[in-house]
């Protein structure tokens, strides 16, 4: 993660470095895209013209602060974009001009610039070379350094066939030789899209952002009306107002705080995803993530650790625990599978058996597991044989090596085996044949899927947020149910085929629910495309990455949960700052209206509850507060408001308390403090 810009905090230096960009954005052709701030800019221009004609300290102070309001808004956006630009630079460096070794149909190689590669071309890449374009490995296996994209320095294995065949242009082969079939045109590659994304060039307004913009524009119109019509009323009252004061009132009333920060919030939201090593292909997908009702999670790797692990040894009657543990351990010494290792670990942790290595038993003969025998074991020095494996296979071995009279306690073994299977576990039977005498079954090892730590709590959290979790597994329903119960998911889909998955997604969507899922295989692609939020693993196939609307560079399926939270946080930040912005207006009215009219209607001075020192100072203080609020909230806009998974009700009351009530109170205090300072200025 060394080469990534850290999210969340605002480096004060960025304010300075982003200033030129902020000034460049004053171009009206750029400003017009943000209606609220555009109105402020027009107001600032108007105020400047008026101040030139009739200059005075008050008028020029207002002009300066109106321009600062616009600059601060642009600064917010520029800072948010600036962070993306830094990342884009890093990525561009990875995308240096490469020469591709293209394979011709006759098998000969020719060197061509990477930019000229066509979809379907075959290229050879060897150790030390940079992969010239996105594609699938069709021949060979190699370790690849993908740190340019993922920031992760440990190399990953890419091999032909299967779900680990995709490679990304700009990454570097560290060992071996592979042949890659190019799947993306130059210029549209993953790294190109990533650059466009973090730079914000491809940023389009999301549905909720559009809706919010409409609301802000209409609020602006309402306040424009209220301000414009105020002049005839003022004239009627015999207190005609200088235009510059009306402009100040207008700028204070229209929702500048949220208007200024809206696009920064959006950019920062995408940026936060990038900090989590997730690339969203559209902002729409990020928003959809906040709306997700159903999460489809693959069991293996997401809910459970990838492999089954030994959880207990169950001896048959007449055999003591330690004897079974000892036999189980001996039979697994040479077993390098995760299951085998877990048996050795269990024997050590639960039964205190010292770990033994193969070297301690030089004359022992280890029996490898094969698909035919379906068991493994060891033949010890002195004739003792131990076997462990699938129940049917081991029991047959016991029968074959028995004396024909005592077949061992098969009935009891059967019961234990059935009990373990019924609980969703996998039974491994352990048997021995002593040097003398017939073989017998010693007991059963209970292998089970181990649910990752903390999953139950996360699913409880999800439930509180109103999200239903569904576990997808190829296991039989019995096994699936047991794991589902242990992990605390709401539902499961057992013996799932890609078609089942698709059907489930469509069923959920028909009920109006939004579905999120992760996937990596080519057969996941249709479901990834169908899901509202489809997160493809970076290790997955190009088809999967193409189909999903997000790619997780860490290939961590649990990330889906964080993506949902980031999506929600984005919306909450917008909503909270909108509320804050509107709530601010109450205090501004109490500052400006008495300032404008207390001269003609003395009674209105009762509304000057902040007891501001003079009308000019009151108006200027309100304008300054309005501008400073933008700067003060830039860090919050970039970081996002604090988000804790909880029910909608408690979240609403919390945010309404902080940003609604706080939004009403804060400006009363802020404007008063600014007034105390402003009133000291000479000329006020």
């Amino acid at each position: 993660m060394s080469n990534r810009v850290q999210g969340g905090v605002l480096d004060p230096r960025m304010l300075a470095t982003s200033l030129p960009d902020a000034l460049r954005k004053l171009d009206p052709r750029v400003m017009v895209k943000q209606p609220v701030m555009f109105v402020v800019e027009i107001g600032a221009v108007l105020a400047t013209v008026l101040a030139i004609k009739d200059s005075g300290f008050f008028a020029w102070s207002i002009v300066v602060w109106l321009w600062l309001t616009v600059v601060f808004a642009n600064l917010a956006e520029a800072v948010a974009e600036g962070r993306g630009k830094a990342q884009a630079e890093t990525l561009r460096r990875a995308k240096t001009e490469t020469v591709a070794r293209r394979l011709s149909a006759d098998g000969s190689e020719e060197e061509v610039p990477a930019a000229t590669l066509q979809v379907g071309d075959l290229v050879v890449v060897e150790a030390g070379q940079v992969i010239p374009g996105d594609g699938d490995v069709i021949e060979g296996v190699a370790s690849v350094d993908e740190s340019a994209i993922t920031g992760e320095s440990a190399p990953v294995i890419r091999e032909s066939g299967g779900d680990r065949s995709s490679v990304t242009g700009g990454t570097k082969v560290l060992s071996d030789r592979i042949v890659v079939k190019i799947t993306t045109k130059a210029g549209e590659s993953f790294i190109d899209r990533m650059i466009a994304l973090v730079e914000g060039a491809a940023r389009q307004k999301t549905p909720n952002e559009i809706a919010l913009n409409i609301l802000l524009a209409s609020l602006t119109i309402v306040f424009l009306l209220a301000t414009v019509t105020l002049q005839p009323f003022a004239i009627y009252a015999g207190a005609e107002q200088p235009i510059i004061v009306l402009v100040a009132l207008l700028v204070c009333l229209i929702p500048t705080t949220i208007g200024a920060l809206l696009s920064a919030i959006g950019i920062a939201g995408m940026d936060r995803l990038v900090q989590h090593n997730v690339l969203a292909m559209s902002g729409r997908a990020v928003e959809a993530a906040g709306d997700v009702n159903t999460l489809l999670l693959d069991k293996t790797g997401t809910i459970t650790l990838g492999n089954r692990q030994a959880s207990e040894f169950i001896p048959v009657s007449g055999v003591d625990d330690d004897a079974l543990a000892d036999a189980a351990q001996l039979s697994s010494i040479a077993d390098e599978t995760p299951e085998g290792r877990s048996i050795v670990v269990l024997a050590k942790t639960a039964y205190g058996l010292r770990e033994r290595s193969q070297g301690e038993l030089p004359s022992a003969h280890f029996v490898e597991f094969t698909a035919q025998t379906r068991m493994s074991g060891v033949d010890l020095d002195g004739g003792r044989q131990i076997r462990k494996g699938a129940a049917a296979a081991v029991l047959r071995w016991v029968r074959d090596h028995g004396d024909g009279v005592t077949n061992g306690p098969t009935a009891e073994v059967g019961e234990i085996v059935d009990a373990i299977s019924g609980a969703g576990g996998t039974p491994l039977v352990v048997a021995e044949k002593p040097a003398e005498g017939p073989a017998r079954a010693l007991g059963v090892i209970h292998l089970k899927d181990v649910v990752k730590e903390g999953m139950r709590e996360r699913f409880d959290e999800m439930r509180r947020m109103g999200i239903r979790t569904v576990m997808i597994t190829g296991d039989n329903p019995l096994t699936a149910r047991a794991i589902a119960e242990e992990a605390g998911v709401d539902d499961f889909l057992a013996e799932a085929t890609p078609e089942d998955k698709m059907a489930l997604i469509k069923k959920e969507q028909a009920g109006g629910r939004l579905v999120a899922m992760t996937g990596d295989g080519t057969n996941d692609a249709p479901a990834l495309a169908q899901a509202d939020v489809g997160v493809a693993m970076n290790t997955g196939t190009s088809a999967a990455k193409e189909a999903g609307n997000m790619v997780d560079l860490d290939s961590n399926p649990t990330k889906l949960i964080e993506i949902v939270e980031i999506g929600k946080q984005l919306l909450i930040t917008r909503g909270s700052l909108t509320t804050f912005s509107i709530a601010n207006d109450v205090a501004k009215y109490f500052a400006i209206i008495p300032a404008m009219f207390a001269g003609v209607y003395v009674g209105l001075d009762n509304l000057n509850i902040m007891r501001l020192s003079s009308p000019e100072s009151a108006i200027l203080s309100a304008v300054i507060f309005n501008a400073l609020a933008i700067v003060a909230l830039i860090p919050l806009a970039l970081r996002g408001v604090q988000y804790k998974p909880s029910s909608a009700s408690s979240m609403l009351s919390r945010n309404l308390g902080i940003y609604g009530l706080g939004g009403i109170i804060a400006p009363f205090i802020g404007i008063k403090i600014i007034d105390l300072v402003v009133s000291l200025l000479p000329g006020m």
Partner: protein
């Protein structure tokens, strides 16, 4: 019994009566608008109009039917006034002059019932009964139809049909307004309101002057005037006139009538969307606003201090001694909160803060509890706005009753909320800002009380017109071409722009696939949401009208 005790008892009685009517009336109205069967009398009407009552309409068709119906009504009412002298029961009144006839036609077709005339000396019995009274029914039924169409938007999914305007119109009249009016008219007669077709009784006044006291079918007009939240009284003095509103009991009954449908409509809404709690929430917000304004106005009137008030014993200028301050304030808030506009006291004579509160009460957009139908759809629009802001704050695309509130919906809502303030503020600004004469009169010169009170008067007039309230602040001569035509357009635009937008909203909601509610969904039936809705109503209206209120009532009262 002290005034306070009597006032509180009256308010308590009113609330109890509304609570008793809530369930049966709300259920009956829900049944009316969801019934699959047609009554035979209704079938006859459908055949006369030539519509197929079983064919549901898309929203543009629904809107076109509504606009066509209203346009024909507008024209018919205009013509009827212009030629009334040639028709029976003319009372020898001349035809109404064009600008006033337009104003009156617009006023009654939009359920406003703004009256720039004195009924007893301008309108013939025929105009009153065949013109104005008919509009009292149908314009009310139109408002209810729009509300029901919007509710259908929440009920239905994946359809472009929002009901049949003609069926909603006919049923609203036949099954709800007519039966209620008959019963209410009989009760009013029993309470002492008059009901005849007398051309008038001649009387000699104490000063030997001559006076003709016009009679008429008053009780029946009074019933629908309140039930349909119309407010146009046959007498200029409106519900302050003893023939319309003879005593304290009839006064309470009239307040009950003007509140009962808007209140019970929230139950209709809850029943139709299949979640009664949603109806309670909307009712809760309406009640909170109403109670707040009743408190403010009553406080302003009762606590008024000044030489005039002390000489009279109380702030009784413009109030009837048979009602007193409490019942007058209760009536005033209820009538301004329901877009009724009938008055039992003169709002112009309220204390400046009390009068300002009445203006603000209309400025909420007539949602506390609002006119028949109009109150419900107005509040639902504000609820959608609230949901939008609140929904973002809980981290989801905002949704209300399972419908997503996105760009299209928020655009319709925003335009809707913009319309009324735009009409009020520009109307008032033009009236006060024009220094040139319009048709011989400078609009400003109509003001009888200069200073901030004059501003309040003009503001009140445009507020009343754009919100289709119809009550007058008085103290301003509005029977000029400028006001007749200006207010006429304010009424038409203030009525039909929101209606079209609401019907479009209904269409857009009905098309959606509802999103199922989960723990992550913002609950819209809990006190927190109700509180936020009330807050949004207060803030939207407050922020829009604070400057102008500061220069009118606040400047005068602080």
């Amino acid at each position: 019994m002290s005034d306070t005790t009597a006032g509180l008892l009256q308010t308590g009685l009113l609330i109890a009566a509304l609570a008793a009517a809530y369930r049966p009336l709300g259920t009956w109205m829900a049944k009316t608008y969801t019934d699959e069967k047609h009554w035979s009398a209704e079938r006859v009407l459908y055949r006369c109009i030539g519509v197929d009552p079983d064919a549901d309409q898309r929203w543009p068709v629904y809107a076109r039917s509504l606009l066509a119906f209203s346009a024909v009504s507008l024209l018919a009412l205009y013509v009827l006034q212009r030629v009334q002298q040639h028709l029976p029961l003319s009372l020898d009144f001349p035809g109404v002059v064009p600008d006033q006839a337009f104003n009156t036609a617009a006023s009654f077709v939009t359920n406003t019932n703004w009256q720039s005339y004195s009924g007893e000396v301008t309108m013939s019995h025929l105009t009153q009964m065949a013109g104005l009274a008919v509009q009292n029914f149908v314009s009310a039924a139109v408002g209810m139809a729009v509300a029901v169409a919007l509710v259908r938007g929440f009920m239905r999914s994946k359809t472009d049909r929002i009901g049949n305007f003609w069926v909603d119109l006919v049923r609203g009249c036949v099954r709800i307004l007519l039966p209620m009016s008959v019963v209410a008219a009989i009760v009013l007669v029993a309470l002492g309101a008059i009901q005849n077709l007398s051309a008038g009784t001649d009387a000699t006044t104490l000063t030997e002057g001559f006076q003709r006291i016009t009679g008429g079918p008053i009780a029946s007009q009074e019933a629908i005037k309140e039930i349909g939240t119309n407010g146009g009284g046959p007498y200029n003095a409106n519900s302050a006139h003893p023939f319309e509103n003879p005593n304290a009991l009839s006064n309470m009954f009239e307040i009950f009538l003007l509140l009962v449908i808007p209140v019970a409509f929230t139950r209709t809404f809850g029943l139709m969307v299949g979640d009664k709690r949603q109806g309670y929430a909307i009712l809760g917000a309406m009640t909170a606003l109403w109670a707040l304004m009743v408190t403010i106005v009553t406080w302003a009137e009762v606590s008024a201090r000044g030489t005039a008030y002390e000489a009279a014993g109380a702030a009784m200028e413009g109030k009837e001694t048979r009602f007193g301050e409490w019942a007058s304030a209760l009536f005033a808030v209820s009538t301004t909160g329901t877009s009724t506009g009938s008055v039992n006291s003169f709002h112009d004579s309220y204390t400046s803060l009390g009068g300002g509160a009445l203006i603000l009460n209309m400025g909420f957009g007539e949602v506390a509890p609002g006119g028949v139908g109009a109150g419900l759809y107005g509040m639902l629009v504000l609820a959608i706005l609230t949901v939008f802001i609140a929904g973002l704050m809980v981290g989801r695309t905002p949704e209300y009753l399972g419908r997503k509130i996105q760009a299209r919906e928020i655009k319709l809502v925003a335009l809707n909320i913009l319309t009324m303030p735009a009409l009020v503020l520009t109307g008032t600004a033009v009236a006060l800002g024009l220094n040139k004469a319009v048709a011989g009169e400078v609009p400003k010169d109509s003001i009888l009380n200069p200073g901030p009170h004059g501003l309040s008067e003009v503001l009140y007039a445009f507020m009343s017109a754009a919100n289709n309230n119809g009550s007058a602040f008085a103290g301003i001569s509005v029977n000029t071409e400028f006001y007749n035509i200006g207010l006429g357009f304010a009424m038409l635009l203030g009525r039909f722009i929101p209606i079209i937008l609401v019907l479009a909203l209904a269409g857009s909601l009905a098309r959606q696939t509802p999103v199922p509610a989960t723990a992550g969904t913002l609950p819209t039936h809990k006190p927190l949401f109700v509180g936020m809705l009330v807050g949004v109503v207060l803030i939207v209206a407050g922020l829009t009208f604070f400057p102008v209120l500061a220069l009118g009532p606040l400047a005068e009262g602080l």
